[in-house]
């Protein structure tokens, strides 16, 4: 069991995390943050997250916290 937290206000919507999540549970949705970026979101199936932290590793804006 693992989970991630997304600090969307820092997200710039670059989509890198989306490409590396092995569980394909990240996506760029419609939400726009205060800086005007369309931010990343996670699917509701929180139990699919493996806590691999690939998303966190590749995110240039340190948006994620990963718990395991």
């Amino acid at each position: 069991m693992a989970k991630i937290e997304i600090n969307t206000e820092r997200c710039k919507g670059c989509g890198l995390c989306v490409t590396v999540c092995s569980q394909k549970r990240l996506f760029i949705g419609e939400t726009i943050n205060r800086s005007g970026y369309t931010v990343v979101q996670q699917t509701d199936d929180s139990d699919t997250c493996t806590g691999c932290a690939f998303c966190a590793q590749i995110c240039p804006d340190v948006v994620f916290t990963v718990y395991k």
Partner: protein, 246 residues
């Protein structure tokens, strides 16, 4: 549950000015993690260079000195010699380190200054709007090579890590990339080693990061990462040229 990945404490909470997908952000985080892990935040003096990474002092909770363009290794030499107990690093782009600052990096390395140099090679001058850098690849279009870099007249992409290797003063020289989680994890190990080399007073450590600049490459973040894999790594092979991970 325990946080297995969280924001390093040496990073401030200010959003960076980097473009979406820019690797400067990743490299900043890796540096901050090393600072945290070695517990040296309070004995660091960072030397910022002029390039997209100039705002180092906004993002790290450490003492920072801003060097003139290209001169960070000389500035850092002054800092370290006057304050040998401090941990001193420079963070420099390829325009900064391999163009205007060629002389300073070569001689600081050759003197074996006890410094850790973080070299971010993104094959362009990012901050000034995407002009050719010494590391720009053959035929790459930039704002000053509008017809692609013609190696016959504009020269060849320069491989700094290989030149550093040739200098007797260097103790650790590596090239790495942060375009995939795997490479990032590898990069972290390399960077840790480059910190140790200074912490153990062994000598001069140099890490070249292949880095993306989606904005000036005019591609999205994913394509930029792919370009690193397909185009940059073949020209700039990833390697530990000198020293070892231990």
């Amino acid at each position: 549950m325990e946080a297995v990945f969280k924001r390093p404490e040496s990073l401030t909470d200010i959003p960076t000015h980097f473009c979406p997908g820019c690797h400067h952000g990743i490299i900043h985080r890796l540096v901050a993690e090393c600072i945290d892990e070695f517990g040296i935040r309070e004995k660091i003096i960072g030397v910022a260079s002029v390039g997209c990474s100039v705002f180092l002092y906004d993002y790290f909770l450490i003492d920072v000195l801003e060097a003139p363009h290209g001169r960070a290794p000389a500035v850092a030499t002054g800092v370290k010699r006057a304050n040998p107990n401090a941990f001193v690093f420079t963070y420099q782009g390829d325009g900064d380190l391999a163009a205007i600052g060629t002389s300073e990096i070569i001689h600081a390395a050759n003197r074996g200054e006890k410094l850790t140099v973080i070299f971010v090679n993104n094959t362009v001058f990012g901050m000034t709007g995407g002009q050719m850098a010494p590391t720009t690849l053959p035929d790459q279009e930039t704002t000053t090579t509008p017809y692609g870099r013609d190696v016959e007249t504009a020269g060849f992409p320069i491989r700094m890590a290989e030149i550093m290797e040739r200098l007797d003063g260097t103790k650790f020289v590596a090239r790495t990339a942060v375009n995939t989680p795997k490479n990032i994890i590898k990069s972290k190990k390399i960077l840790r080693r480059a910190f140790e080399v200074q912490l153990n007073n062994e000598g001069f450590a140099f890490v070249e990061f292949l880095s993306s600049c989606p904005t000036n490459w005019k591609m999205n973040a994913q394509k930029a990462n792919q370009r690193i894999q397909d185009v940059m790594i073949p020209y700039f092979p990833l390697n530990i040229f000198k020293g070892a991970l231990n």
